[in-house]
Assembly symmetry: D2
Homo-oligomer: 439 residues x 4
């Protein structure tokens, strides 16, 4: 147990009437919902980077967080102190999973060899910590965007040596993920994009990225990694335009390189909104395309054009998201990773807990509301009825290719078709949803 978190006890479920800010009001991990426990449904993870690496800095100011593990000191020693605090925090938070980038947990060192050695050492530490605490790894990843060498991309860099450096990190991070029992491996295209078209060869960079993804998939099979490979869409930031813009864009990319059955998406709420989509849209798009994988649970700010990575707090929004996920069968290897960070003025140790508790309660309550929607599935019934004619003669003939354009036009004219309009009933359905949320 660390000194820093010593005043905080393990967070427990106390029920919705609890006034204890350091307790769950809705997340009751063993509560059964539609045949599975909340814990199994939600598969929550906390992240290393926002909680233990980011010092509370922004573009306009220095770090505000005074954390013992961010003090100066021997790099490897500090990495271990950081791990002590991270696992103490994760444990007290009663969260089953965590996620990390390679360089979150180990110092980069001054050379690629030092990087490899430092990382291996720290993976040993993590392995031991997992054993001690029972924490599990939801996913690992490699940070191929923060180091200046990646300023013009990693896989899409004009210099193949930078590609090779990134490949080295990915190789090591995949190995670590497998060793630590990670259930997924994530690729977020940090700087896989362009700053300006004036110096960019779009076709070339796409080929490079396609090859990199293929190498990752081939390696997965080679080493027998059983988890899922995930790409995380984001439209912009840090680069002006990121290639993995949104789910639909990633789908086209996967199709081009024959990877649509090998790679799924890790959807981040805030990235969805930066791309001009609702979070719900991105989830529904992914499930309808068969590439839904996992979620980076956070929220953006509807008035701001950058990644604010706030903790989710809207049950209204997340009930619909959860409904979509449940309808698609729920998570398999994925889960809800809180890729969320405190506001810069939230400087206290307690704030780290408040953020996660709020997020976990929000998602837990959303799960309950969505489960109720499924048990009395008005939406599904309405949709079935709305599209019913597509299961009858004309609809089937069209979809089965039994009618060509001319035949269909002839049919329409000879029957003097005059379709009757039917209400979309949007307001009615919105009221139905609120009836489930505010019951």
């Amino acid at each position: 147990m660390t000194e820093y978190f010593k005043n905080i006890n393990k967070i427990k479920f106390e029920g919705k009437d609890s006034t204890n800010p350091l307790a769950f009001r809705h997340y009751d991990e063993d509560k059964m919902i539609l045949g599975k426990s909340m814990k199994e449904h939600l598969r929550f993870a906390a992240c290393y980077w926002h909680n233990f690496c980011w010092p509370g800095s922004d573009v306009f100011g220095a770090g505000t967080f005074e954390r013992p593990w961010l003090s100066s000191g021997d790099a490897m020693e500090m990495a271990k102190i950081k791990a002590d605090h991270a696992f103490d925090f994760f444990s007290k938070l009663s969260i089953p999973y965590y996620c990390f980038h390679d360089v979150d947990v180990a110092p980069e060192g001054n050379s690629i060899k030092e990087y490899v050695n430092n990382f291996q050492t720290m993976v040993d530490v993590l392995e031991q910590k997992q054993e001690e605490t029972g924490l599990k790894l939801l996913w690992g990843t490699a940070n191929a965007f923060s180091n200046p060498r990646y300023m013009s991309g990693a896989g899409t860099n004009p210099d193949p040596k930078v590609f090779a450096y990134a490949a080295t990190q990915i190789f090591n991070a995949m190995g670590a993920t497998q060793r630590l029992g990670g259930e997924n491996y994530v690729l977020w295209g940090g700087r896989e994009g362009y700053e300006t078209l004036l110096n960019t060869d779009l076709r070339q960079e796409r080929e490079q990225l396609g090859r990199l993804m293929q190498m990752v998939v081939e390696h997965k099979h080679k080493i027998g990694f059983k988890g899922t490979i995930l790409i995380e869409p984001k439209p912009q930031e840090p680069t002006k335009h990121q290639y993995d813009y949104d789910t639909a864009t990633v789908y086209g990319f996967l199709k081009q390189f024959g990877l649509e059955n090998e790679i799924k998406v890790n959807i981040e709420a805030n990235h969805a909104t930066l791309a001009g989509h609702s979070f719900h849209h991105e989830i529904a798009t992914a499930t309808s395309l068969g590439i839904f994988g996992s979620v980076d649970a956070n929220r953006g700010d509807a008035q701001l054009g950058w990644d604010t990575d706030q903790f989710p707090n809207s049950v209204e929004e997340n009930t619909l998201v959860m409904y979509e996920i449940l309808k698609a069968g729920g998570f398999t290897t994925g889960g809800f990773n809180f890729d969320a960070r405190l506001r810069r003025p939230s400087i206290d140790a307690e704030d780290l807990f408040h953020g996660h508790i709020g997020g976990m309660d929000t998602m837990a309550l959303s799960l309950e509301r969505a489960a109720a929607m499924i048990e009395n599935d008005v939406l599904a019934k309405n949709i079935a009825q709305r599209y019913a004619e597509w299961n009858q003669d004309l609809g089937k003939q069209i979809l089965n290719g039994e009618l060509n354009l001319e035949q269909l036009a002839n049919f329409a004219v000879s029957n003097n078709l005059s379709p009757v309009k039917e209400s979309g009933r949007q307001e009615y359905l919105e009221n139905i949803i609120n009836g489930f949320i505010y019951k």
Copy 2:
């Protein structure tokens, strides 16, 4: 010659020092640029809908344009009067092409049969007008979004009878396009999208749209239409989310339905910006994916979130667009169609000319500037040099699949790779571009 435009003579090129607002200052149709005339490069088209169908109304107010062809009267008679004015206008504008929707040129009538008959009659009229004036058809299309029957989509409608109605219009519009020598056939997914996910089956609607596109392609081959089939991306408006969101999204759709070699994109500048992209981005994306087809030339307003469809007036923006198009080999069947409309207070006959003259001069000057960039292709040289290492050993081995992830990582570590950063030189390149534009 019509009474309405009687005070306006055919617009001619008078050179950049002309002060005649009803003359071209840059568009000199026979001027040779990189081996082709301006006219052949630019392939300008004016549109029927904004110029001859829209009365100057918006959501907050009634039409402001007092046009003789928009008066009340017998529908077919008015359609002919409209055609008289349209072809008088197109001719005086010295524009080689025009574009239309089926219901721009003919009244819908009160039944599908009336629609067919009215349209056939008006296609006869158009054919005669083309012959008289020498005007050509850049593309035709069907309006399957304005009539209330399409309020919930055409191809994506929950009712297959509505799909059949739309198919009838497309069948007729494709036939008309072929008969009138049209060089392309366009599909803009007017209401192919959703208003709310609550009543929408995304997977079902995608299947419907995919089948419709296949039917169109099959029909093209059946009738021997030699033109190009084009889809026009747009992210939203009128529906909340349109399925043909942007070029990258359309690409994924085409790949799914095996249509990526059959259908190209018709990119509209204003749709690009609504999707959160620069116009330049959409063009470059399309050329890099091999699906660039044609352009709806207009501009949006960077501060407004709807389709303002203004006439292009930025040489700075369009020089880069034109450079991209020239680098990709220029238009084949496509062209620049002015899908642009006057501001609602621009009510005079002259204003119709001012809008197009400004747009044509903007694109003509952009062509000249882009041609100069190609003749001294600093951008291309810079790009070749920037990515040069991808043509050498390591780069080739990576792209050719000769190295797997582990081998590449081993190579990087054993060589202790430490790539040297190179400046992206964005500001230098921006200055180079301005040197071409402001010479």
Copy 3:
């Protein structure tokens, strides 16, 4: 009772477990909250324009609503039929107030004289309808933006005759509002803005608008109108830039023309978001500046850049709005007017009810949640504590002007000030709020 709404009975409160979609689940008009009935707190109004004038058209398509009162026929006769339906609807909705524009209720006619006469006749009709039904008028206004004469503004038109025409409408609408017992008079600057700076004299147009507002205030006092004059901020649409951009902008305008104690703001949720603000922000800004008046209750779509005017359905958002309003003392003459419209495919008579019922329930539940927040006002206590030092020596001396810049600097240096950071506790407070909403 009208034929059109004959199958719908007066909407009643049935409680949150009701499954009747044509009943209130939360709006129990006589329920007492913090000493006033829900009805008195919320002061709901329905509007004439979206419900009875708009045919379900948009820029891309014709009207979808088949309403008897929108059929063709003698204009005055149709206006009366419309009034019959409007008051039948309002009554069945159990809503206490309504709102209208002059030309919503009466035909414009073919001249200014016809306008005056038509309007007077219809005001007689409205007066009688109010008497029969007990409906009251929350506010009246004049539509000085739809007619083509206003294409370049009303008060800000370059032609003073257009200003005079608008003044005539305002004069008549103010008179009607007074006669009908209206509690407010609203000015929405429909086209008071610019399309392009190239033809606009900003200073001149501001002077014109300032004078118009002064004339309105002078007239109010002259006729002894006891209601409140309200300006409704909107940033854009229909013009590119509207002068009453947001609450802060209106405040500066009022200050310049000495009107800050005479005119308040009517804040619309969707206009707030178009201006880049949260609805909460606009309400809080208005209350903090002392110019909060009334609310146009609706919602926008976070992904769309135009006024979607949807019915409010977020209790999460409106609980904070309601809290702010209650803290400011609640409405005086203002209220919640549903400036909201159905989605275009929601074509049934029932849909008009679903929209309003959902909106009323949303605001009623938000009121309950906000009242609970006030009864245990954690936010207020936290704020009082956070700023407590401003009520002690140093704080008071600064605000009272007892220290000049040099003295304060000397104080800081001589005391070697080193302020201690305190957490802003945002996540904690967000959890507190959710504790009230999801109790």
Copy 4:
């Protein structure tokens, strides 16, 4: 002369046909335009912070710039080395002015006393550098946003001790500005805004900020500073909502605190676009309200929602801005400060020059184009004619208050007014502008 810039000679004007990337093609400082030299018109300044303090870091990655003055070392010693490089750079750039924040030039130290001492020492250094080089100070300012103590605001902080700390910095920075002959003093409300309304007292914070601005103005008069006090509007970033949102908002604030004749605005292009306005709009708004002061010349990215601070490169945009400024009489104490920074991958010493050269050439060419517009002022003539009736009887009577609302309405009705619509001619005017830009 510094080692770092030793390979770069003083930048000179070589004319538009020069292919030397390290020469001006348009900025010919002594060229006379409308009776003043380019240098006097443009009053260019380079900034200390982006060029000499920012290391090329962003939220997602570490600094990429390897500058000798950013190495580790004794803080005061490094500050002097930084000053050496800064003045070497400014001199070679042939720029007449520079700008700085207090902590750009001097280390903050570990206490307020150290801060004061360090800053005084460095002001001595700057004074000597100015003397040696002839550089002048356009404006000074205090950075009251980067240090963690300002995480919840400076003047608007809940803790008056933080206010006092900020006041100390402002006091010192104003003194330094006066001593160094600075022509303006700027206040940018770095974190004067809110992160969440949940913990914010808007009215209280506004009072604090109002008092701070009054103290600054009082101090200006007390010390006899002859320059202009400027507030720089920005809508968001770093805080969610900044109080100095845009020019119109600042105007309302100044009016409330009686400061509208004491403080003007320093308009930044990128801040305009973040606020949802065009740069042109903000300039025109400020001149029309009589509060135009100075300009932070840069550009944003139309697709990105954060402050990209790129160098201006659009002659099309800046010609209109320059026209507006010239029409308002040009700068008095203000100027064009390049608050612009390199893209993160632009790591070379030359890139610093390319950015500024491009910006200076852009503004110089824009000045030439705008001057031509003024010499043949079609816009002004068109506007005079468009509003001409406001100088005739009816217009004058309205604006002079000779007609009240009722009298005006009576006039309109008795004359049966029916105003004739006149075209706004936007497209015509846009073509005219392009005729000046592309002559």
